[in-house]
C-alpha cells in the first residue's frame, strides 16, 4: 500500500492515517492493536506493516490524542 505524506506531517496509508504532530507516544495504540503492527520510534507512533492492518479501529478508539484513525468508508460514515 502506498504511503503518502500529507500536510502538517500527516501520514496516510489510506486505510490508516497518522498525525504525528498530535501523537504523544503513550503506546496505548501499540499495546491494543490486535495485529501488533504498530511501534513507537522517537516518541511517535509508527506503522511497521500496513498490509496486516484489518481496520478494526482499536487504535483509534483508545488514542487519547486522536492521532491515529481508520480511513476510507469507516471514516466517511462518521461525523
Amino acid at each position: 500500500m502506498e504511503k503518502k505524506e500529507l500536510k502538517a506531517g500527516e501520514v496516510s496509508y489510506e486505510k490508516l492515517i497518522i498525525n504525528p504532530s498530535w501523537c504523544k507516544g503513550c503506546g496505548i495504540c501499540v499495546a491494543f492493536c490486535p495485529k501488533k503492527i504498530l511501534s513507537i520510534e522517537n516518541e511517535k507512533v509508527k506503522v511497521d506493516d500496513i498490509e496486516k492492518c484489518i481496520q478494526c479501529g482499536m487504535c483509534e478508539l483508545r488514542c487519547p490524542d486522536y492521532a491515529i484513525y481508520v480511513g476510507g468508508k469507516k471514516n466517511e460514515k462518521r461525523g
Binding site: G27, A31, Y66, Y69, G79
Partner: protein
C-alpha cells in the same frame, strides 16, 4: 485532516490537548462525542459545562456551546442553564474532586432534583491538576501527595452516591472500555432526568506514579483485567470483588424531570390569572 468525527466535534485548532501522554481523559472525551454523534443531537442544542481540573478542561476542546466555570460549581451553572433553556441538552464534565469534594453538595442536590443534566465524572481517583492530592475517591491505603503514608479515608462510590441521592440514570465505565462509555452516555442522554456516568480514568502522572500502577498502558491493562460487569459480579464473593471495578448500567428508572415539573407550576398559575 483529523478523522471526520474529530473534525466535526472538536475545536481542532486547539489540539492536541494539554493532557499528559496516555491520560485517560482524552479517550473518555472521544467516547462522549461519539455518543452525541450516535444520538444524532444538533451541536447547537448541546451545552457542555465544566468546573476546574484536568477533566474540566475537556469542553475547551469540544465544538459545542461550552462553559468553563469555577471549581465544584459546574452543576450550579448547568442548573441555571437548564432552567433558562430547558430545550438544550445540558452536559456536565467534571472530575472526582470537582464533583464529589468541593462540589459534593451541588452534586447530591442535582441528583435529588432529577434535573435534566447528563453528568460525566472523569474519576481518576486523585486531584490531577494540582499535583496529586488525594480525593474523595482515592481508595483507602492508597497514596497522594497529601497522604504520603496512605489515605485513611473510605472512598466514595460515586454511582452508589448518585443513585441514593435520586439520579434516575447511573452507570460506570473505564477509559479502556471506550465503547461501553459511549453506550452509557448515549443512554444517559436519552434519559430526561438527571443522569450520572462515572468514567474511570487513568492519571499515569500522579495516581499511577504515586501508587506504582505503572505507565498509561499498564493502567489500561489493569482496567481491562479488573473491570467486572454486574452479571459476572453476581457470581463472585465479596472477597473476590475486592479491588475490582464494577462496570455497566446500574439504574435506568425515568422519573419526572425538574424543569418540566417547574413548567407545570408556571402553566397552572398562568391559567389561574
Amino acid at each position: 485532516m483529523p478523522s471526520n468525527l474529530v473534525e466535526k466535534y472538536f475545536r481542532t485548532e486547539k489540539l492536541p490537548q494539554i493532557w499528559c501522554p496516555g491520560c485517560g481523559h482524552g479517550v473518555i472525551t472521544r467516547s462522549i462525542v461519539d455518543a452525541i454523534d450516535q444520538a444524532g443531537l444538533d451541536k447547537d442544542k448541546v451545552c457542555i459545562v465544566s468546573g476546574i481540573g484536568c477533566s474540566s478542561r475537556a469542553p475547551g476542546y469540544m465544538d459545542f456551546n461550552t462553559l468553563h466555570t469555577t471549581h465544584g460549581r459546574a452543576l450550579a451553572f448547568a442548573t441555571g442553564i437548564k432552567l433558562a433553556k430547558p430545550e438544550l441538552k445540558v452536559i456536565v464534565i467534571t472530575g472526582d474532586g470537582d464533583a464529589t469534594a468541593i462540589g459534593g453538595n451541588h452534586f447530591i442536590h442535582a441528583c435529588r432534583r432529577n434535573i435534566g443534566i447528563t453528568t460525566i465524572v472523569y474519576n481518576n481517583n486523585i486531584y490531577g491538576m494540582t499535583g496529586g492530592q488525594y480525593s474523595p475517591t482515592t481508595p483507602k491505603h492508597e497514596k497522594g501527595t497529601t497522604a504520603p503514608f496512605g489515605n485513611i479515608d473510605k472512598a466514595f462510590d460515586i454511582c452508589d452516591l448518585a443513585s441514593a441521592a435520586g439520579a434516575s440514570y447511573v452507570g460506570r465505565s473505564t477509559a479502556y472500555h471506550a465503547n461501553l462509555t459511549t453506550t452509557l452516555v448515549k443512554n444517559a442522554l436519552n434519559n430526561e432526568g438527571f443522569s450520572l456516568v462515572e468514567a474511570v480514568s487513568g492519571c499515569p502522572t500522579y495516581y499511577g506514579r504515586k501508587n506504582k500502577k505503572g505507565n498509561a498502558v499498564d493502567m489500561m491493562n489493569w482496567y481491562k483485567d479488573n473491570a467486572v460487569t454486574a452479571a459476572a459480579a453476581a457470581k463472585l464473593s465479596e472477597e473476590q470483588m475486592a479491588g475490582k471495578i464494577l462496570i455497566g448500567e446500574f439504574k435506568n428508572k425515568p422519573e419526572p424531570e425538574y424543569t418540566s415539573e417547574y413548567q407545570k407550576i408556571i402553566d397552572k398559575l398562568a391559567k389561574g390569572r
